[in-house]
C-alpha cells in the first residue's frame, strides 16, 4: 500500500470520528464518544504509519536523497492534521472533555480532505535551499504550535456558544446539547492551556526559522511576509496571554482574541503562500 492510500483511510477515519463526536452531542451517549475517540486514535496511528511510509518513499524516487516529508504544501497539510490530532488527543486524555472533539476534528478532517482531493502529492527531491535539518525542526515546532492554536480556537468557539446561550436563557445553565459542553470556566481554562502549549512552540518555530535563515542566507530576520505574519500571530497570542490576567479581558474577549489568533495563523500558513510573495513558496 502507498502512503496515499493510508491517507485516504485516515481522511475517512477523521470524518467518521467527527460525525461520531457530533452524534455524541446529540445522543449524549458516552459509548458513542468513546467510539469517536477510538476511531480518531485509529486514524492517528494510520496517519503516523502513512507519514513514515512517505518518508521511506522519498528515498525510492530516482536520485532521491530522502527527506522528512514536510517540504511541500501537500505534505505540510497532512502533517498539520497529524499535529492537530496529537495535541487534541493529549488534551482529551489529560482533561477528559470529549465534547471538544466535535469542534476540533473538523479542522483535521478538512485539512486531510483538502490534501487528498486537490493538492499535488508528487514527491520531488529537495532544492538546495531546503536541504537542511533546520527544515525538520522548524516545521515540527511551527505545526505543533499551529495545532495547539487550532484546539484553542475550537474551544473558544464552544465558549462563545455556551456563554451566549447561557445569557439567552437567563442566568440558569443551558440545557440540550450544551449540557455536554464543559462549563464556561473549564472552556476558558482549556483555551488558556492550549495557547500556553502553543505559544512557546510558536516561539521556538520562529526562532528555528530565524536560525535557519541566518544559516542559509545570512539574515535571521528580513521582514519577509511569512516571517512578519508569524510575528503577527505571536503578537496576538502575547496580547491574549496578557489580556487574560487583566480585569475585563478574560472570558469572552479572550475567546475572541483566540479565534482571531487562529485566523491569523491560518493566514500565516496558507494566505501568505497563496496570496502574497516571499521565501516560503513550497518550492513551486
Amino acid at each position: 500500500m502507498t502512503s496515499g492510500s493510508y491517507f485516504n483511510i485516515v481522511t475517512i477515519s477523521y470524518f467518521a470520528s467527527m460525525v461520531l463526536f457530533i452524534a455524541f452531542l446529540a445522543t449524549k451517549s458516552f459509548g458513542v464518544a468513546r467510539l469517536a475517540t477510538w476511531v480518531a486514535i485509529l486514524g492517528f496511528i494510520l496517519q503516523t504509519v502513512g507519514i513514515g511510509l512517505r518518508w521511506y518513499e522519498t528515498y525510492q524516487i530516482p536520485g532521491g536523497a530522502g527527506y522528512a516529508p514536510m517540504s511541500n504544501l501537500y505534505e505540510s497539510v497532512v502533517f498539520f492534521s497529524w499535529t492537530i490530532l496529537l495535541i487534541y488527543l493529549l488534551i482529551e486524555w489529560k482533561y477528559k472533555q470529549k465534547a471538544v472533539g466535535a469542534f476540533v476534528l473538523p479542522f483535521a478532517f478538512l485539512a486531510m480532505s483538502w490534501a487528498q482531493l486537490s493538492l499535488d502529492s508528487s514527491i520531488a527531491p529537495l532544492v538546495p535551499a531546503l536541504q537542511s535539518n533546520w527544515l525538520t525542526y522548524h516545521v515540527i515546532t511551527c505545526f505543533l504550535g499551529y495545532a495547539a492554536f487550532a484546539v484553542a480556537c475550537g474551544v473558544s468557539i464552544m465558549y462563545l456558544i455556551k456563554v451566549g446561550r447561557e445569557e439567552d436563557v437567563g442566568r440558569g445553565k443551558a440545557g440540550g446539547v450544551l449540557s455536554l459542553f464543559p462549563s464556561a470556566k473549564i472552556l476558558d481554562d482549556l483555551n488558556y492551556k492550549a495557547i500556553m502549549i502553543g505559544f512557546p512552540l510558536l516561539s521556538i518555530g520562529i526562532i528555528t526559522g530565524a536560525a535557519w535563515a541566518n544559516y542559509a542566507w545570512g539574515t535571521y530576520w528580513s521582514w519577509d511576509p511569512k516571517e512578519t505574519w508569524s510575528l503577527i500571530v505571536w503578537f496576538i497570542y502575547a496580547a491574549f496571554l496578557h489580556a487574560r490576567i487583566t480585569r475585563g479581558w478574560a472570558g469572552r474577549r479572550a475567546a475572541i482574541l483566540s479565534i482571531i489568533g487562529f485566523a491569523a495563523t491560518i493566514f500565516c500558513y496558507l494566505g501568505v503562500n497563496l496570496l502574497l510573495s516571499g521565501l516560503h513558496s513550497y518550492g513551486s
Binding site: 544559516y215 539574515t219 512578519t228 505574519w229 510575528l231
Partner: protein
C-alpha cells in the same frame, strides 16, 4: 514638586507600567505589521508610480510606508513596547525579589486567611511532640521546613520552585536582549555581495549602496558547479570551492560552500547566493568528412573561427546549456568556399543529429566547458550571538513562566489546654485548579498523619 505635578507623574508612570498599554501595543504592532506584507516594501519609485497616483505615492512616502518596518513610527511603537517592558519590570521586580529572597516566615492571620487552600485539625498532645511530626510530614510530602517560634505559636514554612517567579521577567528581558543584538548587528555589522569568476580572487566586498568593504584577506573561487537531479531541471546543489589567503599564506584551503553550509572567516560569513556564466564558453567541435573515419577536433570559444582542411570555415556562433529539453547545444556558422554561410545546430547528447543535413562534413558537439562566476553574500553580524542568547532565554523563561509554579506552605501550631491546633495553608503562584487537586490529596494525607 507640587502635589498636582507628582500626581501627574505618578499617573504617567502607572500608564507606562500598565498591562493595558502592553495589550494595546501588542495589538497595534500586530495590526500595523500587516501593511508591509500587503504593500511591497523597498521597491523603486518607478515601480510604485506604476501602481499609485503621484499624489497617493507622495502621501504614502511621507508616512514612510515603503520601508515601514524601519519607519520612525514603527520603531517608535517598538520602543514604546520596550519602555512598557522595562517600566513594568522595575515596578514589579522588587516585590518579587523580596518574595523569593525574604519569604514571609510568619504571615499575619489576614494573609493566611486570604489563601483558599487550608485545612485545620486539633490533636491531643504537646507542641514538642506534634511539631517534629509536622516537620516530617511537610518534608516528606513537600519540602524541608524552616521553623520560627513566636509568642503566638510555632510557624513552619516550606517552599518549592521559588525561582519560577523570575520566569516572566526572564522572558521580558530576553526581548530587550534580542533588540540589543539587532541594534549591535545594525551598527557594527554589514551585509555585502561579491561575484568571483572561477579562478578569480577578491579582497573586497560591496555593500548594497555600492560602497566597497576591505576584507583584510583574499578569497579565491577555485571552482563553481551546479548539479541537477537525474532526468530533471531541478537543481540539487550549488557549490563553490573557496580558498582564503592572508598575507600570501593559505589559511583555508579549498573549502566547499553550498547553500545551507556557509564559511566563516574572521567574523565574516560567506553564503552561496547565486551564480552566472563568466565569459564565453569553450566548445569542442568535431568535424568528420562524410564516409571517412578520420575526424578533426576544434576547441573554440564563442565567436571564434576555425579553418577546415578544404578551406571551409566554421564559427562557434552560439551556445546554450539547454536547448528545448535537448540539453547542451551549439550553433555553428559554416561557410564552404564560394558558397553562402549556413547555420548548423549540434547537440552534445545527439552526436548523429547532423547526419540528416547530408552535408560534406558531419559536425558534432563533443564537449563544452562553461566558466561560471559564483555570487556570494558576505555578512558580518557581531550581534547575532546576543540575539541567540535572547532567544534561548525567551524559550527557557516562557517555559518556566508557563509550566513551573512557586508553591509555598505554612503550618501554624498553637498549644492550648493539652491540645495542639494545627493549621496547614498552601498556595501556588499559578495553575490554581491543578494545585487545588494536589492540595485535596494532601489534606487526606494530613488527616491520616494526625489521626
Amino acid at each position: 514638586m507640587t502635589q498636582k505635578k507628582r500626581g501627574f507623574l505618578m499617573a504617567l508612570w502607572d500608564f507606562f507600567c500598565s498591562l493595558k498599554l502592553s495589550i494595546f501595543t501588542l495589538i497595534m504592532l500586530a495590526v500595523t505589521s500587516i501593511i508591509g506584507t500587503v504593500l511591497q516594501q523597498n521597491q523603486t519609485k518607478e515601480q510604485y508610480l506604476h501602481v499609485f497616483s503621484p499624489k497617493t505615492y507622495a502621501i504614502l512616502d511621507k508616512m514612510q510606508m515603503f520601508d515601514m518596518y524601519h519607519s520612525t513610527w514603527f520603531i517608535g511603537l517598538l520602543m514604546l513596547f520596550c519602555v512598557n517592558l522595562i517600566c513594568c519590570s522595575i515596578k514589579r521586580l522588587p516585590r518579587v525579589w523580596k518574595i523569593v529572597t525574604k519569604p514571609t516566615l510568619v504571615p499575619s492571620q489576614a494573609v493566611l486567611d486570604a489563601f483558599p487552600n487550608t485545612v485545620e485539625r486539633t490533636v491531643r498532645g504537646s507542641l514538642s511532640e506534634i511539631r517534629p511530626r509536622m516537620e516530617v510530614f511537610v518534608k516528606d510530602n513537600f519540602a524541608a521546613t524552616r521553623s520560627t517560634e513566636t509568642d503566638d505559636g510555632v510557624y513552619l514554612y516550606a517552599e518549592k520552585n521559588k525561582y519560577a517567579r523570575f520566569g516572566v521577567y526572564v522572558t521580558h528581558m530576553s526581548i530587550l536582549i534580542i533588540f540589543t543584538g539587532a541594534i549591535i548587528g545594525n551598527v557594527f555589522g554589514y551585509k555585502a555581495y561579491v561575484n568571483i569568476p572561477e579562478g578569480g580572487s577578491i579582497d573586497k566586498v560591496w555593500l548594497r549602496s555600492g560602497e566597497p568593504v576591505d576584507l583584510g584577506f583574499k578569497v579565491t573561487c577555485e571552482a563553481f558547479s551546479v548539479s541537477y537531479y537525474p532526468d530533471s531541471q531541478r537543481p540539487k546543489e550549488y557549490k563553490s570551492i573557496l580558498t582564503v589567503e592572508e598575507d600570501g599564506v593559505v589559511v583555508v584551503d579549498k573549502r566547499p560552500i553550498i547553500v545551507n553550509d556557509p564559511m566563516t572567516h574572521n567574523g565574516i560569513t560567506f553564503y552561496q547566493s547565486n551564480f552566472g556564466p563568466a565569459g564565453s564558453e569553450i566548445m569542442t567541435v568535431k568535424a568528420k568528412l562524410r564516409g571517412e573515419d578520420k575526424a578533426q577536433v576544434y576547441t573554440l570559444r564563442r565567436g571564434e573561427k576555425a579553418q577546415l582542411p578544404d578551406g571551409t570555415s566554421i564559427t562557434a556562433a552560439d551556445f546554450t546549456t539547454s536547448y528545448r529539453n535537448f540539453g547542451p547545444a551549439a550553433r555553428l556558422n559554416v561557410r564552404k568556399q564560394g558558397e553562402d554561410e549556413i547555420s548548423v545546430i549540434v547537440f552534445k547528447n545527439f552526436p548523429e543529429f547532423d547526419q540528416q543535413r547530408k552535408g560534406t562534413y558531419l559536425f558534432s558537439l563533443e564537449d563544452f566547458t562553461q566558466r561560471y562566476y559564483t555570487g556570494l553574500q558576505a555578512t558580518k553580524d557581531p550581534g547575532v550571538w546576543v540575539v541567540w542568547l535572547g532567544c534561548t532565554l525567551m524559550v527557557i523563561g516562557s517555559l518556566i513562566a508557563f509550566f513551573v509554579s512557586h508553591q509555598r506552605m505554612w503550618v501554624v501550631l498553637r498549644e492550648k489546654d493539652g491540645k495542639v491546633q494545627v493549621r496547614l495553608v498552601g498556595t501556588a503562584h499559578r495553575n490554581q485548579p491543578a494545585y487545588e487537586l494536589y492540595f485535596d490529596k494532601l489534606k487526606e494525607a494530613f488527616n491520616k498523619h494526625l489521626a
